[in-house]
Symmetry: none
Subunit: 83 residues, 5 copies
């Protein structure tokens, strides 16, 4: 077994592991969506403010999922370990 | 199999593992987004204070996700183990 | 395969594992952010006390994430196992 | 591959695993911070008692995170398995 | 590779895994701390009883974290598998 093949194999596993971070954004943003829907149901006249706050917070929650995606893409397409 | 290849392979897996930390920020910040949307629905006149508190707390929650990203980037681009 | 390479490879994986501790701080601090935003919406006049309590508690919750970061940095930059 | 290198490699992984204990303290202390902020918003005159109770409970929650840190430090710096 | 080295390596990983039990105590005790802070805010005159109950419950929650610590210490310092 040559070394480069081992690094490529491990990079495939690492890319997969990095995506597990997405669990958090999925749960958190779903909670935000639920609370947002609940709040719009109670105060329909405040729908604009509610949705804006929900989306602002959800955008922040997305960041760590994007970090995981970036690391996975680096491992696949711009892997510095293949030196 | 040479030693450097093994270290590089393990670094790819380690970088992926480090990103799993992002689960926490995703869940926590999503919770904050939901509570923020709910609070804005109830007290739209306090929207500025609510959103500022939400974002301040979310920024603190982001830190450990960034720690994970930093360790992953060190493992990929500035790995001290390749000595 | 030499022994030092194996230790270095395991250290890369260990550093990644240590960062997983950050999940806790992310969830907890996000919860604090949500409760803080909710409380500010209800009692805007107490915003200073609410935010101070939120940040004090969040700082305590950060500690175990920092412990993980310290162990990861020791494994990478000051590894006593390379003796 | 010599035996001592294998033990050292496993100790690096074990140290990383031990830090995962910190997830608990992070979640728990963040919950305490959120409830503390909420309580201070409702009864600002009881802020001292609330914060003291919050920090006392958070200190207890910190213990298992510190146990993990101690085991990780033993594995790295005072490892009895290297006999 | 001799057998004793393999057992010692596995013991190092096992000690790290055992500490993960601490997640539970951390979450549970933090929940107790939050509810305790909330209760002290509502009935400051009952602070003594509230804190005593909180600490009694937290002590019970600590037990499983201590079990994990004991097993980790046995694996490291009094390992019966090295016979």
């Amino acid at each position: 077994m040559d070394g480069l093949s081992l690094i490529k194999a491990a990079s495939a596993i690492g890319a997969g592991l990095a995506m597990i971070a997405g669990i958090g954004a999925g749960i958190g943003q779903g909670y935000a969506a639920g609370k947002g829907a609940e709040a719009v149901g109670k105060q329909p006249e405040a729908q604009g403010d509610i949705v804006r706050t929900m989306l602002l917070g959800a955008a922040v929650a997305e960041t760590t999922g994007i970090y995981g995606l970036v690391i996975a893409l680096i491992l696949l397409f711009a892997n510095p370990l293949f030196g």
